[in-house]
């Protein structure tokens, strides 16, 4: 073998390595990819909205199917309308002091709803349903009720008129004609349930949106944080900012999606339980970021009803439970301190601090 031939062989060997290393890497990556990171996503219409369930990994498909079954079950159970609805049954059994039995799901939700009612001094109230019916927000046949009619209905509004027995799992109303609607909290309970199903099925990375109620499991498959946009109430095709997060629920209440206009006045669907009128305390969007979807759901409505000052006071007393992004009616943004490093926006925003942070 002459010297040149040796050299050529070395070059060939190097070329072979150059080709084999990336090809080998790609083959291994390609084989690994479907097992760990494959995206599965499915949409379902339920709870009067569209839901998108997304999970990653080889267990995601099964997890999503199980989650869809659970969503359908809870939809039937917790809706305020429908023959198979437990809530509709309770509402039809509304002679004063007559008890109705609850299943575990309804008992957990009503217990939480009553707790938030107390904590927020009535800003969140599941007994507002007769008013929702009167305004036509359930049937979508909208009308502005007379003041007399609203005053009449306000007499049967108030969760302090609910008799709830957590041991026996029963509920009764103190006043005839009372009715409840879990619309302000049921989606949060459902998103908690879906995330639990994902976890039990072995999914470690997922994100769900139940009509804009977002909840995340783990991080993105590549380990980075999820990026959740907050819809801009003044430009529905844009986002006012992005929250980077993991293992959190992000739930927004605003009056810009469900409303009607009459004689030049806009009436949205978030009613103030004290006045019976659409809440108008200077906020047009409230996003809550919390571990618990049910709490985030209830608090987004509550803080919207409270207005900026009371909302920030409430946050200061509960800042270990949640953070919030508030939007005033002039479009200006307030972000609570816990989110200041996880909120990005092309708009200016103020940061609200707890007294102890100052």
């Amino acid at each position: 073998m002459y010297k040149g031939e040796e050299k050529v062989k070395k070059v060939l060997l190097m070329l072979l390595l150059i080709c084999v290393i990336p090809i080998g890497y790609n083959v291994v990556y390609a084989l690994k990819q479907p097992v760990t990171n494959e995206k599965h996503s499915s949409e379902i219409f339920a709870m009067d909205t569209i839901m998108t369930l997304t999970a990653y990994g080889n267990r995601a498909d099964r997890a999503i199917e199980l989650a869809k079954e659970e969503v359908k079950r809870l939809d039937k159970l917790l809706s305020s309308e429908g023959e198979s609805s437990l809530i509709a049954l309770i509402n039809s059994n509304n002679n004063s002091n007559k008890s109705s039995e609850l299943n575990r799901d309804a008992a957990v939700i009503i217990k939480k709803a009553l707790s938030v009612y107390d904590e927020t001094r009535g800003a969140f109230d599941i007994t507002v349903y007769p008013l929702m019916l009167e305004w036509g927000f359930i049937s979508r046949e909208y009308k502005v009720p007379s003041k007399d009619r609203i005053d009449e209905l306000l007499k049967i509004i108030g969760s302090d008129k609910i008799i709830f027995d957590n041991e026996k799992k029963t509920v009764a109303f103190k006043e005839e004609g009372m009715a409840i609607d879990l619309g302000g909290i049921a989606k949060g309970y459902t998103s908690n349930s879906v995330i639990e199903i994902f976890k039990k099925a072995g999914v470690t990375s997922g994100i769900i949106s139940l009509g804009g109620n977002v909840q995340t499991l783990g991080t993105r498959p590549d380990g980075s944080l999820w990026r959740v946009g907050i819809q801009n109430p003044l430009d529905l095709y844009g986002n006012l900012g992005v929250v980077t997060t993991s293992e959190k629920a992000l739930i927004t209440s605003g009056g810009y999606q469900r409303y009607f206009e009459k004689d030049g006045v806009v009436y949205h669907h978030i009613l103030n339980p004290k006045t019976g009128m659409p809440a108008n305390e200077g906020l047009i969007s409230v996003t809550i970021v919390a571990d618990d979807g049910m709490l985030a759901d209830a608090l987004s409505t509550s803080l919207f009803v409270m207005g900026e000052e009371a909302a920030l006071d409430y946050w200061k007393n509960h800042n270990d439970e949640f953070d919030a992004v508030l939007v005033r009616d002039d479009g200006s943004i307030i972000v609570t301190a816990g989110l200041k490093d996880n909120f990005e926006s092309e708009h200016d925003f103020e940061v609200a601090y707890h007294d102890k942070d100052n």
């Binding site: 031939e5 050529v8 070059v11 060939l12 070329l15 072979l16 150059i18 080709c19 990336p22 090809i23 995206k39 499915s42 949409e43 379902i44 219409f45 009067d48 909205t49 569209i50 998108t52 997304t54 979508r140 046949e141 994100i207 769900i208 949106s209 804009g212 109620n213 977002v214 995340t216 993105r220 999820w226 990026r227 959740v228 946009g229 907050i230 819809q231 529905l236 095709y237 986002n239 992005v242 992000l250 739930i251 927004t252 209440s253 605003g254 009056g255 810009y256 999606q257 969007s285 409230v286 996003t287 987004s300």
Partner: protein
């Protein structure tokens, strides 16, 4: 011997070019043409390529629920619906990141080949 060596050198050079070209394509490939998918109750019922340049209208009907869809050079939109809230009609043309949804009729019109993360966003919360 030299001819055999040259063959292998050319072979590896070509292989390298193919690998390089394939990598470049995978990294830089276009997201594809503008194809809208129409879904009813979660099932794809029609796929429309908006780059075909055709203009036409059609109606999606089911159990008395009707949505009339218009396709033209401006895009795709729902122009008539017998749903109570008319949100789908008010939506106008399909845009990036905002599917057309008719909640009462369980209809969604969305881009089929839109990248998963619009502006690198995984989901949007709104009320």
């Amino acid at each position: 011997m030299i001819r055999t060596t040259r063959f292998w050198m050319v072979f590896f050079a070509v292989l390298l070019c193919i690998c390089g070209g394939a990598s470049w394509y995978l990294i830089n490939r276009e997201p594809g043409s503008r194809v809208a998918g129409i879904y009813q109750d979660g099932a794809l019922i029609r796929r429309i390529n908006l780059e075909d340049g055709q203009a036409f209208e059609f109606t999606i009907s089911k159990d008395g629920m009707e949505n009339q869809v218009c396709v033209d050079e401006e895009g795709i939109r729902i122009i008539r619906s017998n749903c109570p809230d008319q949100t789908c009609v008010k939506h106008g043309n399909l845009r990036s990141g905002a599917p057309i949804v008719c909640l009462p009729h369980h209809i969604v019109i969305k881009w089929e080949n839109e990248t998963d993360a619009i502006e690198d966003i995984d989901a949007v919360t709104g009320g």
